[in-house]
């Protein structure tokens, strides 16, 4: 689903009327961004955000779920959830052939994926707070993670790192905490719904409008 720029929210924000926090879900491809977006949206609205696939770059456009109210104890926050395409420094159409796609389909997917990366980067101007999703079974010290966090810091955008896939045996969420000690890290399994209350509590405490 392609979305258009929300002119009304932008216009109102010029006068200080920002009704909702734009919560962007960022990360490399296949770290579980859409699974997490679906889990959050399902928990609070009963509806999903987008389709999940084992083929990388399934999300190639920004997917949005608006006005999700998260309630934790006495706190209530209203968010627009933005599920971003995965950020990558390389996209080789040949990787999609392994999943049974034809050469034509693979090339089309690769082209759309490159556009998705550009769109996700462009949206950094619009998000208030970011959930930086990392796969806890993988080495967290990747250039994408380093560049993403550096960029968010430079733009003064609050970040919560989500160490996803902790239900898997190979998961090492402590490696993420060691690699990025200056950020709040929440260990979750978006797929199984493990530790989601801690994530909601962290979102309620850390999410805010960007400076």
């Amino acid at each position: 689903m392609k979305i258009k720029f929300d002119f009304i929210s932008w216009f109102l924000s010029l006068f200080g009327f920002r009704r909702t926090i734009s919560l962007g879900i960022y990360g490399a491809p296949n770290v579980g961004k859409t699974t997490l977006a679906n889990r959050i949206a399902l928990d609070w609205t009963g509806e999903e955000v987008g389709r999940v696939s084992e083929i990388p770059h399934e999300t190639r456009w920004v997917q949005k779920k608006e006005k999700i109210e998260i309630r934790v104890k006495n706190k209530k926050i209203l968010i627009n959830l933005l599920d971003m395409p995965g950020i990558a420094t390389k996209i080789d159409y040949r990787q999609f052939l392994k999943y049974g796609l034809s050469k034509k389909e693979a090339k089309k997917r690769a082209r759309e994926a490159t556009e998705g990366v550009i769109e996700a980067i462009r949206w950094l101007k619009n998000v208030d707070t970011v959930l930086a999703v990392m796969d806890a079974t993988q080495d967290p010290l990747t250039q994408v993670n380093i560049t993403l966090l550096g960029n968010l810091e430079a733009r003064k955008i609050p970040v919560i790192i989500v160490a996803n896939k902790i239900d898997k045996k190979r998961a090492k969420p402590e490696a993420i905490k060691e690699a990025f000690p200056n950020y709040p890290v929440v260990e979750v399994s978006a797929l199984k719904g493990i530790n989601m209350n801690e994530l909601y509590s962290t979102i309620a405490n850390h999410a805010r409008f960007r400076k």
Binding site: I87, A88, T89, K90, I91, D92, Y93, R94, K107, A110, T114, E115, V117, I118, I121, L124, D139, L141, T142, Q143, I146, T147, G150, N151, E153, A154, A179
Partner: protein, 140 residues
């Protein structure tokens, strides 16, 4: 200089990178990398420059050029150097602001002390990063 076999590494001084405006700098890097060269330089780009490099890379991806691999190490500034870096960042922001008011393009962006390697993804098979080092496995 063209090589028929093997991997070509170009070691480029940070002064060559720094003297170029952002657009020309990204073009300089990507033209080399798309040509199959692994570029090594003694500086680290700003996070914004890194994102712009990724964006421009995505625009150039095709069946023969799947993209880039990047690895960098930044030297953490200490004491007076940290102060000078902060001062330099601020003065550059002011310079860029006035350049923008005069309708000129963004001024040269300063880089940080460190090391950066940028190479074609089709040759760089694996990068292993540690907080203070990185290893590259590359194959032509």
């Amino acid at each position: 200089m063209k090589f028929k076999k093997g991997l070509r590494f170009d070691f480029v001084s940070s002064s060559v990178i720094e003297e170029k405006e952002k657009e020309k700098r990204i073009n300089f890097i990507l033209n080399k990398v798309k040509d199959g060269t692994i570029l090594v330089t003694d500086c680290v780009f700003t996070p914004q420059d890194e994102m712009d490099l990724i964006k421009e890379t995505m625009r150039r991806v095709d069946s023969g050029f799947p993209g880039i691999e990047v690895a960098s190490l930044k030297k953490a500034p200490k004491g007076l150097q940290a102060l000078l870096e902060t001062f330099s960042d601020s003065t550059n922001k002011i310079k860029n602001f006035f350049a923008m008011l005069r309708g000129k393009k963004e001024n040269k962006t300063p880089t940080k002390i460190g090391i950066t390697l940028i190479g074609p993804a089709r040759y760089i098979k694996k990068i292993k990063r540690n907080p203070n080092s990185f290893s590259i496995l590359a194959e032509a």
